[in-house]
Symmetry: C2
Subunit: 403 residues, 2 copies
Amino acid sequence: MSAESSTAFRVAGVRLATAAAGIRYSGREDLVLMELAPGTQTAAVFTQNAFCAAPVTLARQHLNVTSPRYLLINSGNANAGTGARGLADARACCALVADQAGCAANQVLPFSTGVIGEYLPVARIGTALPPLFQGLRADAWEAAARAIMTTDTQPKLVRRQFELNGHRATLVGIAKGAGMICPNMATMLAFVATDLAIAEGPLRSSLNTAVASTFNAISIDGDTSTNDACLLAATGALGNPLLEDGDPKGLAIWQQVLDDLCLELATAIVRDGEGATKLVRVAVREASTCDEARLVAETIAHSPLVKTALFAGDPNWGRILAAVGRAGVVGLDIDRVTIWLDDVRIVAGGGRDPDYREEHGARVMAQDSFKIEVHLGRGSAELRMLTCDLSYDYVRINAEYRS
Amino acid sequence: MSAESSTAFRVAGVRLATAAAGIRYSGREDLVLMELAPGTQTAAVFTQNAFCAAPVTLARQHLNVTSPRYLLINSGNANAGTGARGLADARACCALVADQAGCAANQVLPFSTGVIGEYLPVARIGTALPPLFQGLRADAWEAAARAIMTTDTQPKLVRRQFELNGHRATLVGIAKGAGMICPNMATMLAFVATDLAIAEGPLRSSLNTAVASTFNAISIDGDTSTNDACLLAATGALGNPLLEDGDPKGLAIWQQVLDDLCLELATAIVRDGEGATKLVRVAVREASTCDEARLVAETIAHSPLVKTALFAGDPNWGRILAAVGRAGVVGLDIDRVTIWLDDVRIVAGGGRDPDYREEHGARVMAQDSFKIEVHLGRGSAELRMLTCDLSYDYVRINAEYRS
């Protein structure tokens, strides 16, 4: 038994350390170094924003060439909108890490989150590196979850332990969010690691699958960050036979655990959305295609009128109906559409359900968490999203943050 | 000289009357009857929302068959989300008007704005009709502009007088808005009339052109109503030779005046947006196509993060940059993008303009009205939109309205 807490989360093959480098505030942990054991397989998903941040550009380049050994993650500064100098700064940080680690610079991936448009304090980061390397330990996941926070009020840290092919495997993930994206504070970041050995192809495809229904199916304000990134690492330290395409049963177990963990992290992000007081699941069913279901779900989840009604706890079904109607579904037959709040049917036959009573809707919406379900009556495709309400505090946080 | 005020707006061939029918509140004018002289040519544009309201469905049907003689407009109730009964109620109202007027029921067009999902009080509307017919007069435009208001704080009434082919013509318009659409209170409505004689084809095409750059280029909250409608009437009472396709010069003068009047009404709607404290013009230039320019302009105009920064008067250019980046322009070269606040360039070369100073941006954003201009560096298409900020009052109005 080491001095490390026995209840702390650990993933064999991963060590972490945190530091207060004074990137935006002094005395606050804002820098994380994560070390991955040699041979670790990784997969990553990044923001689709054309104005992606310098660390995103560089991380993509490095991942195209080799597997990473180190991740350097800072909060307080997004290094976005910083042009050529931003890219040079990110490169410099990777080189500093590589120097101390004795690895190649492209084996280091940079991640940044925080204010847009200010240059990264490279010298301060460099000063913080030696103690970071000395402080690397297996049980620092929670400290790392705290150090990557920006407007988050809670660290987001999740673990799963599960049996796979006779081995007891571990999966740990941390994330930060707050605004779904808040380009000022910028970013959803998530780092997930397992001690399993998983081949490159299946690892990448499992991450894409998990992200589609979790991190890419949440909306706080409909804005997409310049810095969003999700990285998945499989260290192989467990010593299991490499999980490959030839083992569909094993892969199915893995996918289920990964989906589940990502959903828990994504849910934690929405729950902790800026100013959020309600967690709302939006489910669109009976769509012709998944794209059509997504269109309707996003229109509901992004509508300021729906979101202010959610904040008020007001079963203002006309706003949901109007959002469905304006989503752009070609040839929508409104007589076939039904809309539900949990088990209460509010819309049928092109208008208010004749049996609907306001107090039934009010009862559902008084809860902290509930579901809006829409049946389009067109097919069998479906999609789920997580969203939250739009409150005074959302306006306060985003109007006052820089003042 | 009649007893009517000589300064009141009038359009020869149009008479109006208003009444307090007690549709939602008692003692408030909430019903308008507008009479159009025989031979009046009309054109109309309606909401694209699939859940369009009963009056929209019926007005479209009637316009397909014949030209209207009467418009019956109520506030306080949108008659939307009311299914088959809503349609029957709208038909009943048209029949009541037709009975008194001695015209066909399909010569009456219904328009409604107000709360969604409640049935129209047809009997109360019927009771109000005889005094409405008796009260028809030419100078009641301002009273009508007030009677169609919902959460608007100001009536919206605009006039243009202009020379066309030797005749002094008049164009008058009224509108209501408040939420770009606020499906609870529902709707932008606009009614515009001229005393010119204009042929059907050019009238319709001039309305479509005007609406595209005015009423369809404004955003308060990105929501689209179930009830939006804009009707244009040309009574021909001026006695000018019919304005037709063969007179491009005359049509150009007409289009200019119509565009200008619609823009003034649209601007008034945004200025009076729910909780709005700033009027912001968004101009996207150097796009490959108009659709691409619209995509970028709408993404900026709908972004809650941009809108809260506008409310704060915070030149938080990172949020504008991030909105441009996530708009979905395929192959956007961010190094060619420039972004301006009025005459202050804030973004160039993929990031903050090196010459930009925060105080310059703050000076622009301290104004009540200013422009965000984006140059994409891809072509010559452009598009302008009008939007407003997202304030505490927007949340208050929309969260508390029904409570």
